[in-house]
C-alpha cells in the first residue's frame, strides 16, 4: 500500500514539475525560432567572466532583441570551444597560441582578436603578513622554490605556501612568462612542484585570507578587502608600486596585460554590434566599476 502511494505521489510530482516547466520551454523554443532574436554564446577566461556578465546584462537591457549567455572555465577552455564551433565569442586573458590558430584554420575559420580591457595581476598575501614590498625577482624566486621562508624577504619566520591557478588559466600562463621567467623567452624555468594549483580564483582568495603563510596572485578585479596586495617593483632598486587603474594606465605597474575577446571569423550582425558597443565609452565605464582598467579613454 505504501509503495503504491509513493508511486502515485511521484507521478503527481512529475506532472506538476512538467506543468511548471513547459511554458518556459515553449517560450524559449519560440525565441529560438524567432529570427529577430539574436543569440550570442560567450565563454572562456574566468578573469573576464564577471566583466563579460556585466556587459551582457547591460547590453540585453539596451537591446532586448539580443540574448547573450556567458560562461567561464578558463581561457584555454574558451579557445577549445571556439575552435570546436560551440560558441561565437571566446573570452581570454592571454593571446591565442599558434597551435590554436592552426586548429581554427583547420576547422575553416580565422579567429579575430579584440582587446576589450586591461587588467593588473595583483600579488596578494594575508593581511597579517608584514611584507609590503617585493621585487619581481623575489616573487619569481619564491614561485621557483628558491626562497621558501618569509624571513628571506623581510617577513616573519614562516614557511611560504605558494598558490596558483590551474594550468588551463590564462593568468597562470601570463604569470609564468612575465613573472617567473621575468619575460625572458629563453628561460624554461617553471613553478616549483609544491605550488598549490587551485581550481578557482575564489579558492586562492579564501586560502590567502585564512592562511598567514600563503602568497597568491589574481586579477585586480578579483582582489577583495580581506587580503593584502603587495607593491611590486621591476628591479630591486626601482620604486615599489601598488596595482590600480592609474598605475596600469601610466605603465608604472610592472605586471599588467590585455584581456581579449576572439570571434569565430570576422564578426557580423549581432556580434559586431556587441563588440562595437563593448569598445564604446558606455561599456568601458563598467570596466572601472569592476576593478579592471579601460582600454579607451573618455
Amino acid at each position: 500500500m505504501r509503495q503504491k502511494l509513493s508511486v502515485v505521489f511521484m507521478l503527481l510530482l512529475s506532472i506538476i514539475l512538467f506543468a511548471c516547466q513547459s511554458p518556459d520551454q515553449a517560450s524559449s523554443e519560440q525565441a529560438n525560432s524567432d529570427s529577430k532574436k539574436a543569440y550570442i554564446e560567450n565563454k572562456g577566461s574566468d578573469t573576464l567572466v564577471n566583466l563579460a556578465l556585466a556587459w551582457a546584462e547591460e547590453y540585453q537591457l539596451l537591446n532586448p532583441g539580443v540574448q547573450i549567455s556567458v560562461t567561464g572555465g578558463g581561457s584555454g577552455t574558451g579557445f577549445a570551444a571556439l575552435i570546436n564551433g560551440t560558441i561565437s565569442i571566446a573570452n581570454a586573458s592571454r593571446q591565442i597560441k599558434p597551435e590554436e590558430i592552426e586548429a581554427a584554420n583547420e576547422n575553416g575559420f580565422e579567429p579575430i582578436e579584440f582587446i576589450v580591457a586591461d587588467d593588473a595581476i595583483a600579488v596578494i598575501v594575508n593581511p597579517e603578513n608584514p611584507v609590503d614590498n617585493l621585487s619581481l625577482e623575489q616573487v619569481s624566486k619564491i614561485y621557483k622554490g628558491e626562497i621558501s621562508n618569509w624571513l628571506e624577504v623581510g617577513g616573519e619566520d614562516r614557511p611560504i605556501v605558494k598558490l596558483s591557478r590551474e594550468t588551463n588559466s590564462g593568468t597562470h600562463v601570463y604569470f609564468l612568462e612575465t613573472v617567473i621567467r621575468l619575460g625572458d623567452k629563453e628561460d624554461r624555468s617553471i613553478f616549483s612542484a609544491d605550488t598549490l594549483l587551485l581550481p578557482s580564483s575564489e579558492g586562492i582568495i579564501v586560502e590567502v585570507r585564512d592562511n598567514p603563510n600563503a602568497i597568491g596572485y589574481d586579477g585586480l578585479g578579483y582582489v577583495t578587502e580581506n587580503v593584502k596586495m603587495v607593491a611590486l617593483s621591476q628591479g630591486a632598486n626601482d620604486e615599489y608600486i601598488l596595482p590600480s587603474a592609474a598605475t596600469v594606465i601610466s605603465g608604472n605597474y610592472p605586471i599588467s596585460r590585455h584581456l581579449f575577446m576572439y570571434t569565430h571569423g570576422e564578426p557580423k550582425g549581432a556580434e559586431l554590434a556587441y563588440l562595437e558597443w563593448i569598445l564604446s565609452s558606455g561599456a568601458q565605464e563598467i570596466i572601472t566599476e569592476l576593478g579592471f582598467v579601460p582600454v579607451i579613454s573618455n
Partner: protein, 294 residues
C-alpha cells in the same frame, strides 16, 4: 504465456549483456584515446618526476603517488570506523537505535561530494592547519579524511549485510557454549562474514580511488612525489583531479589529451585489480573449522 515468457527472458538477457557491451565499449574507447601516448611520449618521460603539461612534462609518478597516498590513508581511517559501525549496527545496537542508525548512514552516502568538499575547504582545512601547525591545510591528510567520510557508508552497508548473512544458529551455538558477546563477535561472526567484509573494504578502496571533486577541492593539487611520512601532510595531486581539471582545456588529439586518457586507463586497471583481488579473496577455499561456514 510462452510468448510473454520468451519476451521477458530476452529482455533480461539484453539488459544483462548490455553491461558487458558498455564495459567493452568504454575499454575500447579508453584504449583508442590513451594508447597513442606510448608512441608519443617515451617511457622514461612518463616515469619522470614532474607533471607540468604546458611545458610537455608528462611525468605521471607524482599523480600515481598522490592517488595512492590519499587512498591508503583514507582506508586507514575508514576501515576501523566503517567495520566498527557495521558491528555496532549489526550486533550490538538495540533494535530501535538500529532503525535510526541505518538510514543515517545512508544519508551520509547521499551527501554530494562537492558539498563535503566545501566543508573541507571552509572548516576542515583551517582546522588542520591550526591544529597540526601545518604550513597549509590543503593536504593529503585533509583529502583522506573527506574520502574516509565518503567511503564509510559503502563499507558500513556492505559489511553490515555480510554480518546479517551470518546465520543466527552460529550465534546461538556459541551462546550455548558459554561465549561472551564480544567472543561471539570476534571469534564467530567476524570470521564467518570475512569475505563480505573484505568485499566492503575493497569497494571502499575503489570509491576512494575514483572520487574526484572533494579531493580536487582540498588536496591543493600540487604534483609532489612521495617522500616519506611527510607526504601525508603535504599537498598532493591525484590522477582523478588531474583529469577533471585539465580535460576541459586540451585540444582533442594532442599528446596532453592522450596522456589524460592514459591516466584513465591506469585508473581503470587499478580498479580492475581491486575487483579481482576482492573476488579471489572472497572465493578462496575456506580451511578447517570455517569449512561449514558459507
Amino acid at each position: 504465456m510462452r510468448k510473454s515468457e520468451k519476451l521477458i527472458t530476452n529482455t533480461i538477457r539484453i539488459a544483462g549483456s548490455s553491461t558487458i557491451l558498455f564495459i567493452l565499449l568504454i575499454f575500447v574507447f579508453l584504449m583508442k584515446e590513451g594508447l597513442p601516448t606510448i608512441q608519443e611520449i617515451s617511457i622514461g618521460d612518463l616515469l619522470s618526476k614532474r607533471w607540468y603539461p604546458i611545458e610537455e612534462l608528462y611525468g605521471i609518478l607524482p599523480l600515481i603517488s598522490g592517488s595512492l597516498i590519499v587512498t591508503i590513508f583514507s582506508m586507514v581511517i575508514a576501515f576501523p570506523l566503517g567495520i566498527g559501525t557495521a558491528i555496532y549496527i549489526g550486533e550490538i545496537a538495540p533494535p530501535g537505535l538500529k532503525e535510526i542508525l541505518k538510514p543515517l548512514v545512508e544519508v551520509l552516502a547521499g551527501i554530494p561530494s562537492v558539498v563535503l568538499g566545501f566543508i573541507g575547504i571552509l572548516v576542515l582545512s583551517p582546522m588542520m592547519r591550526t591544529g597540526l601547525k601545518l604550513p597549509t591545510g590543503l593536504t593529503a591528510l585533509t583529502g583522506s579524511i573527506l574520502l574516509a567520510l565518503i567511503s564509510i557508508p559503502t563499507i558500513v552497508s556492505i559489511a553490515e549485510d555480510a554480518l546479517y548473512a551470518v546465520p543466527n544458529s552460529y550465534r546461538e551455538a556459541a551462546y550455548a557454549l558459554g561465549a561472551t558477546h564480544w567472543q561471539i563477535i570476534w571469534y564467530v561472526v567476524l570470521p564467518a562474514g570475512r569475505s563480505g567484509i573484505l568485499n566492503a573494504v575493497m569497494l571502499g578502496v575503489g570509491r576512494s580511488l575514483g572520487e574526484t571533486m572533494a579531493v580536487m577541492m582540498v588536496t591543493g593539487n600540487a604534483p609532489t612525489l612521495f617522500s616519506g611520512l611527510n607526504s601525508f601532510i603535504s599537498p598532493v595531486r591525484t590522477m582523478t583531479a588531474t583529469i577533471a581539471s585539465e580535460m576541459g582545456e586540451v585540444a582533442s588529439g594532442s599528446s596532453h589529451y592522450h596522456v589524460l586518457f592514459f591516466i584513465g586507463i591506469l585508473l581503470f586497471l587499478f580498479s580492475l585489480i581491486i575487483n579481482i583481488t576482492s573476488s579471489t579473496l572472497s572465493a578462496r577455499p575456506k580451511r578447517g573449522k570455517d569449512q561449514v561456514i558459507s
